[in-house]
């Protein structure tokens, strides 16, 4: 462990007195960041709640048009990735550099799987015309599916506000997907820092903060999944 003239470790920034102080500041800062993330998504959840209570038919039919199997698969993938993220933190705390790197890679891989599944889901929606708002124009197979879903759920005709449902579906999952991509990028960065040996038993704060962020991305999906896919 290299130290400077004050006997401080090199990871300690000049304006802090102790590593403990630096860690507690970083942790508080990260939780505040997560709080603002939560409030950021809260607007979407409120909009969802308002329009679901106004247009229940559109919501039920819309939910039936989503592929709950793919949604379930993605939920499992994200839950597993949260586990590997925790293991990366644990390995970093115990100073196991190799395991830290591998667990980070595993998390990135699972996040990638999530995005691939998401891509197939989006692709299908685009093809059959389930586009947001003003571009909503189901045709062919898309129209057939809507009629089938409406019959199944006892709704008369094609609800006009399906376009609002898909508008919110794309905005909510899209912004969540963006957060997944940012998470992948940050974990890649952490993997590189770990490879250079920047983390040790005494200092693993960045890995821990990244994992905190990743858990938030996970937990938001845990709310998105039932709200969008599993309405009856």
């Amino acid at each position: 462990m290299s130290t400077d003239a004050h006997g401080n470790s090199k990871f300690l920034q000049h304006h802090y007195d102790t590593p403990a102080q630096q860690f507690s500041a970083a942790k508080l800062g990260m939780w505040l960041f997560l709080a603002q993330e939560l409030l950021f998504f809260s607007g979407l959840f409120v909009a969802y709640g308002v329009y679901r209570s106004w247009y229940p038919d559109a919501w039920v039919v819309g939910s039936h048009l989503l592929d709950y199997k793919m949604g379930t698969a993605n939920t499992c993938v994200l839950l597993l990735s949260s586990f590997t993220a925790v293991m990366a933190v644990r390995s970093a705390q115990t100073g196991n550099q190799k395991a830290t790197g591998n667990f980070l890679l595993a998390t990135i891989f699972l996040a990638g799987c999530f995005m691939v599944v998401k891509y197939f889901e989006y692709h299908h929606k685009f093809q059959v015309g389930y586009l947001p708002g003003q571009y909503f124009a189901p045709h062919g197979e898309g129209l057939v599916e809507i009629v089938a879903a409406a019959r199944e759920t006892g709704v008369n005709g094609v609800p006009f506000h399906l376009r609002t449902f898909f508008g919110l579906y794309f905005v909510m999952t899209g912004i969540h997907g963006l957060h997944v991509l940012v998470g992948m990028f940050v974990m890649g960065w952490m993997w590189n820092r770990n490879r250079k040996g920047e983390f040790s038993k005494r200092y693993s704060t960045p890995v821990e903060m990244t994992a905190l962020y990743w858990h938030l991305v996970d937990i938001i999906w845990i709310f998105l999944f039932p709200l969008l896919y599993l309405i009856d």
Partner: protein, 567 residues
């Protein structure tokens, strides 16, 4: 010394060691050292310059507006241009000036010093927030070139969903500015929690810090809601998601709910820091321990929390449920309690204090008077029956200008005059500062008192033209605006002269017991050359030593001590 020994010594030397007599402005030089600095003081100074430029731009738009309103019908511009002007005036003043003004510029400079910290908790994030501010400012400038933005600063749908591309640029700009504000708030909360120097416990925190802390909480919790609202609005315009546009099944009133869920707490982002400055100035210029310390501190926190519960009072006539309006009206009246607590505590601090009326104090006293008018007229608007008459009239305009300008801007000016010697190391010409104050105070009141009358007689806000009977009052208001403009011009010249040839300030030119005055005239890059230990509160004049309260330079102090020793 051999080369090896020299290299060895260099390796072991503390890379962050800075001589004790260094000061933050001159320690490093060149524009690169400014753009890459992580020193909160330099970042504060860059913020200060940026927001003053924004204030100038917003002020010019205001004068253009008032000139157009000299006569009914066309005076100098077409109605479309007029709409664009009041939108730009509002958006620039709110998002580029008032919100970052006190926290990001003055707060950045003094908050860590007051805590006895070397810097904020996340210095790089602090610099990032400034860069994000600049990027947001560029977007809003681009918006001006991309069409006619005529939505008003509130971006209400469906105006904004039907506006041209400039609205997209403006929305994205404000979205970006929001993140700058969030990062500043986040940084301040973490700093107050984890960077307090030895002896600085929560009951010793200067009240300026309590105020900025409460502000920071709102910044972190409320701003992301604005961010998602504007993101939805931008997506509405780009891909037509149909959340706010009634043509696509969306609800414009939902936009208003979302917008005010941020923008009402944002009113407290604007006013709390102004109040925070008044605390410091009142205590210093009354030479008295602040009265009711904990009450003032907690009233800031209470305002921050109550601010989240009253957004519906902006929407009494928008068609929201009448039960909701009653609840929002009742909650709105609660805001008067913590505001009143502050006013009465300040008055009690002044009582039997040894008051000296220097320019910072003049602005703070004006703050108390003007904010009281602004606050009490708010009750007219919070009352359901009177609001139906006064809604969307000049009465509202006058009310919020009394709070935002009479409150926040006067607080900001008070702080700017108060900390000017600490920031620049120079004194300014007190006589000219008082002249400027007189002009600003008179100009402001002439401008906006007449608008209270206009509004109560039914003059709607944002109108390009008006009935002939309103002309005398409109001309009075415009005349006041010109006096206000001249006042700011005098102030600008006064400060410029101080920068160029102002007398060098001592460490503590006001004789304040506040901690930030115990640093060298222009603070050390690490604020204190040695870590201070706090053994008294920031308003404990009875515990402060003679040296701490000494208003001259250190050399003068040394001669005084030597003389005493001789005697």
């Amino acid at each position: 010394m051999t080369v090896e020994a020299e290299a060895e010594a260099a390796m072991h030397a503390d890379p962050h060691h800075i001589p004790a007599d260094a000061d933050y402005l001159t320690y490093e030089r060149g524009w690169k050292s400014w753009l890459t600095t992580v020193d909160h003081k330099r970042i504060g100074v860059m913020y200060l310059i940026s927001i003053l430029l924004a204030f100038f731009a917003g002020g010019v738009f205001a004068l253009i507006l008032r000139t157009e309103l000299l006569t009914p019908g066309r005076t100098i511009m077409e109605a479309d241009t007029y709409n664009e002007m009041f939108t730009l005036h509002g958006a620039i003043m709110v998002f580029l000036f008032i919100i970052p003004s006190i926290p990001a510029a003055i707060g950045n400079f003094v908050l860590p010093i007051m805590l006895g910290a070397k810097d904020v908790a996340f210095p790089k994030l602090n610099l990032a927030s400034l860069y994000i501010y600049w990027v947001g400012a560029i977007f809003t400038l681009v918006a001006i070139t991309q069409g006619h933005i005529d939505t008003g600063w509130t971006f209400y749908t469906p105006y904004s969903t039907r506006a041209d591309a400039s609205a997209i640029w403006m929305t994205i700009g404000v979205f970006i500015l929001g993140f700058s504000s969030i990062l500043t708030g986040l940084n301040f909360i973490a700093t107050v929690h984890s960077m307090r120097g030895p002896g600085m416990h929560w009951r010793r925190l200067p009240l300026f810090i309590w105020g900025t802390y409460a502000t920071a909480v709102i910044q972190v919790i409320a701003t992301p809601v604005l961010a998602i609202t504007l993101a939805l609005l931008a997506m509405e315009k780009i891909v037509g998601v149909g959340v706010f546009d009634p043509a696509l099944g969306g609800d414009p009133v939902l936009f208003q709910h979302f917008f005010w869920f941020y923008s009402h707490p944002a009113v407290y982002i604007m006013i709390l820091p102004g109040m925070a400055i008044v605390n410091e100035v009142i205590a210093t210029f009354s030479r008295r321990k602040i009265f009711g310390y904990m009450f003032i501190a907690m009233s800031s926190v209470a305002l921050a929390l109550l601010g989240f519960l009253v957004w519906g009072h902006h929407m009494f006539v928008s068609g929201q449920s009448e039960y909701a309006t009653m609840v929002f009206s009742a909650l709105t009246f609660l805001v008067a309690i913590p505001s009143g607590v502050k006013i009465f505590n300040w008055l009690a601090t002044l009582y039997q204090g040894s008051i000296s009326l220097e320019s910072p104090m003049l602005y703070s006293l004006a703050f108390i008077a003007l904010f009281t008018i602004g606050g009490l007229t708010g009750l007219f608007l919070g009352t359901l029956s009177t609001d139906i008459h006064l809604h969307d009239t000049y009465f509202v305009v006058a009310h919020f200008h009394y709070v935002m300008v009479g409150g926040t801007v006067f607080g900001f000016l008070s702080g700017l005059h108060y900390w000017w010697p600490k920031i620049t190391g120079r004194l300014y010409d007190e006589r000219w500062a008082r002249v400027a104050f007189a002009l600003v105070f008179i100009g402001f009141n002439v401008t906006f008192l007449s608008q209270f009358v206009l509004g109560s007689r039914g003059m709607p806000r944002r109108y390009y033209s008006y009935l002939d009977q309103f002309q005398p009052l409109h001309m009075t208001s415009s005349g006041g605006a010109y006096i206000l403009g001249v006042g700011f011009l005098v102030m600008a010249v006064m400060f410029a002269k101080s920068l160029k040839s102002g007398e060098k300030a001592g460490r503590n030119p006001w004789g304040s017991a506040g901690y930030e005055w115990q640093t060298s005239p222009r603070p050390h890059p690490h604020n204190f050359a040695e870590q201070p230990v706090f053994t008294r509160g920031p308003y404990d004049y009875h515990l402060a030593s003679e040296r701490e309260l000494f208003t001259g330079t250190d050399a003068e102090w040394d001669t005084q001590v030597a003389k005493k020793a001789e005697a």
